[in-house]
Amino acid sequence: VSHYFAAGERVELDATDDVAVDLDVAASLGADTVPLEALGTPLRGRLVLVASADVPGSLDGTAALQPVYRAGGALVVVLPEVRVEAGSLAMAQAVRDCVGAGPVPVHVVRDDGDLMTLRPASGRGADALDVANLLHDEVGPLMAQPRFLRITPRP
């Protein structure tokens, strides 16, 4: 079980037996992506949903795998990106300071004053979740939201 924050409230994310595989990244790491592509459910681009048991162990902990959780009746894939609304320039600086000193190396890929887009250097969605939660716990910007791809029943 993991979590994130929405509207200041903690939201639980239940673990699943699935993982989202970026086939391009997996191929760049030398993995044979043909069976993964055959087994996987296409999501978006080259991202496929695969049972964790079907993924070669060589990809564990790499940017090829993004975590999949269950929440609110949907599956949620955590992508390696965090959007931040600081609320003030002082808070924005506090955000920069926090991620600069934090345990997860982060690239600031967009910085428009109090609006920022962060990307964990690892390329892992799990790290994006940690960065967002760290910012919420330590700094408290208006928003620090990891990027989710959600899969819901068709309306």
Partner: protein
């Protein structure tokens, strides 16, 4: 006569089984001739190994899963499989050892389908017994025999192909006047071309002959196309757009004079799912109220956990849209006959449930016969609108809901939502000075009460949309 026992919600249900030779012929779908029961079972057997038995309701309350409605009787065919929800590996292992069940499929959300071994003399009994014991052990969320259902559709002949009952209900079927009062509203306005209504969905067929003149802006955040037309069979957004602003002689949206903004935010997955990216969705919301200057945002989507990017994008639309007067955000309540989920449970939006031709809250047992869905409920529910057998635009050609460019069978709170969005468009067409909160108040409080009460109800909100009353109230300011 055999009886099959299984648990639903912790209560033991009994289903009486009858042999196929004694089974009444199922009511056929409209336009089809009734075939003999044997043929029907043969077709079912092609899908799953089914014994030559079927079940009909015995009429005793709580003793059967089958139901009778005004359109006929459903047949329920038990299989030798057991559907388990919230399963644990240990329980599956136990069932395998105890009954010889094998896993034939793993579904989403922890569902597992187990099957009795083929050499079992009475696999139906084994499946039923296994399901009961799994429940009684208390370590699974649910377990019951897996049923095939022969569900009859509402008789289409009762709904004229030219009938837009939601706009003007003549009571064939239903209750005369159980509609949004479109004809009366159109005596005041059909909508102003200066009012823009955004449909955020799986794309809109912006080349559709009944929509193309209305569409003034398009965005695709899914594939980055320069248009918002959908892929493949994705017809949901086109149907929603038609309810808002279709411009035809035989098919009209509720606000045919307003303009459409089309934002493609989702696409279908391979398993009847919807896939969308929260950041892209939030960007589409911001684009709609900001770049495309949409006055109203119609959102026939939802599900999953809340996220700040979408919450805050909606908040910006309400605060900054329409040059500070606020764009109106309209969201579907959902179709699970369950509490309203995200984003319909947010404050400051119009959350829309579905009603039927009888002015009932759409439920799995309402008179319309669509027993596979019901409108969601809760304190955030604001207003109801028609959501059954809705005639609207379909993606052109053989794809989509129907073979032509129009469907008569769009449904769900997905269809109710654009009616309310269109009514907001009419309101703003007669009084563009209104703030978004006032528009929401007018639309909700001018609704026709459909439960007899005068207060808000968690089941039907303030009642069923009355577009005429709304535009009259808007004139008064």
């Amino acid at each position: 006569m055999r009886v099959l026992e299984y648990y639903v919600g912790g209560t033991l249900h009994r289903l009486r089984l009858r042999s196929a030779s004694r089974m009444a012929a199922p009511v056929p779908a409209s336009g089809q001739k009734s075939g003999p029961p044997g043929r029907l079972l043969g077709e079912l057997q092609g899908q799953s190994r089914v014994q030559a038995v079927t079940a009909l309701p015995d009429g005793k309350p709580g003793s059967s899963v089958a139901a009778t409605n005004r359109y006929g009787t459903q047949a329920v065919v038990p299989t030798e499989s057991v559907a388990v929800d919230g399963s644990r590996v240990a329980e599956v292992t136990w069932a395998r050892k105890r009954f010889g069940l094998v896993v034939v499929r793993e579904g989403r959300q922890g569902k597992v389908l187990l099957q009795a071994p083929p050499d079992t003399p009475d696999p139906l009994a084994v499946a039923a017994l296994a399901s009961r014991e799994l429940v009684e052990r208390g370590k699974v969320g649910a377990a019951h025999p897996n049923f095939l259902r022969v569900v009859t559709r509402p008789a289409a002949s009762m709904v004229s192909v030219h009938d837009q009952w939601a706009l003007d209900n003549a009571g064939r079927p239903g209750v005369t006047g159980a509609d949004v009062h479109a004809l009366a509203a159109w005596t005041v306005t059909i909508g102003s071309p200066s009012v823009r209504i955004a449909v955020l969905d799986e794309g809109v067929d912006s080349s559709h002959p009944l929509l193309k003149d209305a569409v003034v802006a398009e965005l695709d955040v899914v594939d980055g196309h320069t248009h918002a037309r959908p892929d493949g069979n994705d017809a949901h957004g086109t149907a929603c757009a038609g309810i808002v602003a279709a411009q035809g002689d035989d098919l009209r949206g509720l606000a045919p004079g307003c303009r459409l903004v089309a934002a493609r935010i989702a696409k279908s997955g391979s398993d009847d799912s919807w896939i969308f990216d929260d950041f892209d969705t939030a960007d589409a919301i911001d684009w709609a109220w900001d770049d495309a200057a949409a006055d109203v945002l119609s959102n026939s989507w939802g599900g999953g956990p809340p996220v700040d990017v979408i919450i805050r994008a909606f908040a910006r639309a309400r605060a900054k849209g329409r040059k500070g007067k606020g764009s109106v955000v309209v969201v579907a309540a959902g179709n699970e006959q369950a509490p309203v989920g995200f984003p319909g449970n947010l404050q400051g939006i119009l959350t829309v449930g579905a009603s039927n031709q009888w002015d009932e809250r759409k439920t799995k047992t309402s008179k319309d016969g669509e027993d596979w869905w019901g409108s969601n409920h809760g304190p955030s529910l604001d207003v109801m609108a028609p959501g059954v057998a809705i005639r609207t635009t379909d993606i052109a050609g053989g794809k989509g809901y129907a073979r032509g460019d129009v469907t008569n069978r769009f449904n769900g709170t997905s269809s109710a939502t654009p009616f309310v969005a269109a009514a907001c468009g009419l309101v703003l067409s007669v009084n563009g000075t209104l703030g978004e909160a006032k528009v929401r108040e007018i639309v909700a409080h001018s609704a026709d009460r459909i439960t007899g009460g005068t207060k808000h109800s968690n089941l039907v909100g303030w009642g069923r949309l009355n577009a005429y009353a709304a535009v009259r109230a808007a004139r008064r300011g």
